[in-house]
Subunit: 231 residues, 2 copies
């Protein structure tokens, strides 16, 4: 069965430059002579940008299958993609090559377009999270998202990856690192979460976690990954 990632990978493969990354490695999003398209293949990445006279912002979390097109990122000086996972893989394509491919294969054009639309929707949803929810609810929203994306059922509950440092989380949720730490401690105390090794968390009861974020149902609909597969 083909998954979301394979669908785009096939046609791109002959034109892609493969890049493997280690944690915190950065790829520049500065304007290039040709527009560039990145395809996330493995691992989680963060798209980030500095704000003048302030801290960096994490503009979005990128998952395998996601596409990053330079034009769809605002022209912020110093924008970049940063690897969050220990090991990751990205493919880089020059946009003219992508265009040529899409002119040959309409289905590909449509898939790329749909993927970008979906990511735009995720961005908008994140907007609503930041704008409308309290600190506790924002953190819960992030945990729900990662649990849905990377979670695996075990006897102890749902185990999921947490490749983001406290600072990363803070930059993503528009909080500050100390506050994030406090909120996570509080969630641990309530039994909503527990540590599971360096880079994983366990959620003993997903339902309880889900209830601490008003937008859970929408987040769930957006992060059921296979929604968008062509028939």
């Amino acid at each position: 069965m083909k998954n979301l990632l394979d669908v785009v990978s096939g046609p791109f493969e002959p034109h892609a430059v493969r890049i493997t990354t280690r944690k915190r490695q950065k790829l520049s999003l500065a304007a290039q002579p040709d527009e560039v398209l990145y395809l996330i293949r493995k691992g989680l990445y963060l798209s980030r940008a500095p704000i003048p006279h302030a801290r960096h912002q994490v503009l979005g979390i990128l998952y395998p299958g996601d596409l990053v097109r330079t034009l769809a990122v605002p022209p912020l000086e110093g924008a970049e993609i940063m690897a969050a996972s220990e090991k990751g893989e990205v493919w880089r394509l020059r946009w003219p090559a992508v265009k040529a491919l899409m002119d040959e294969r309409h289905d590909l054009a449509r898939i790329v377009s749909d993927r970008l639309a979906d990511q735009a929707a995720r961005g908008t949803l994140h907007n609503a999270v930041i704008a409308g929810l309290t600190g506790d609810e924002r953190v819960a929203a992030l945990m729900v998202e990662l649990a849905l994306r990377t979670g695996k059922e075990t006897a102890a509950g749902l185990v999921f990856e947490m490749p983001l440092s406290r600072m990363d989380i803070a930059e993503h949720l528009a909080l500050n690192p100390d506050t994030v730490s406090r909120i996570v401690s509080r969630m641990r105390a309530k039994g909503l979460l527990a540590a599971a090794g360096r880079r994983h968390l366990v959620c003993p009861s997903f339902d309880e976690l889900a209830q601490s974020c008003p937008l859970t149902s929408t987040i769930a609909r957006m992060h059921k990954v296979d929604r968008l597969l062509p028939a």
Copy 2:
């Protein structure tokens, strides 16, 4: 000379349902049998959604030439497009018709895709505004945006439309209406802004306004409307 709006309007025209709107009139974004595409023709619109147990959020401001595709809006119960200007015009198209058109005309597919990418970038930028700036800076950012979009030079300074109520602004900037009122009063006191009739503001010195928002240069680059015209 063709502008951004005409470029998409031509091919869509025979398939579009024209809708003229009065202030505060709403168009539903609820999932339809077929996906839907709206093209903004005249006036300013807000895309909005309610947050469970909280106030509505304004997810974005839509300008003439903007496209709204259902798939690019997160599945929030009660999402809608609301007319902000006194009079406006929108075209509605069924997505299957748009797809068919794009299969015939590759340049159209590319233009639609680029427009949506650009709007995604604006969304991301707005994210950075909400997440990284203080209340005063956010309001300044909005004023800069509207001044660039709708402003006209006069003897008294740059006159621009302000079709948003205090409440709309608050919902857009993740502030509360009282705070917005206070901030705007403060800006008036400093001479950054002045009223110019019911629905317009004057900005005596755009440079001073620009300096009160750290992201002005990026906002300016994003809202120079004709950036994206095909050659």
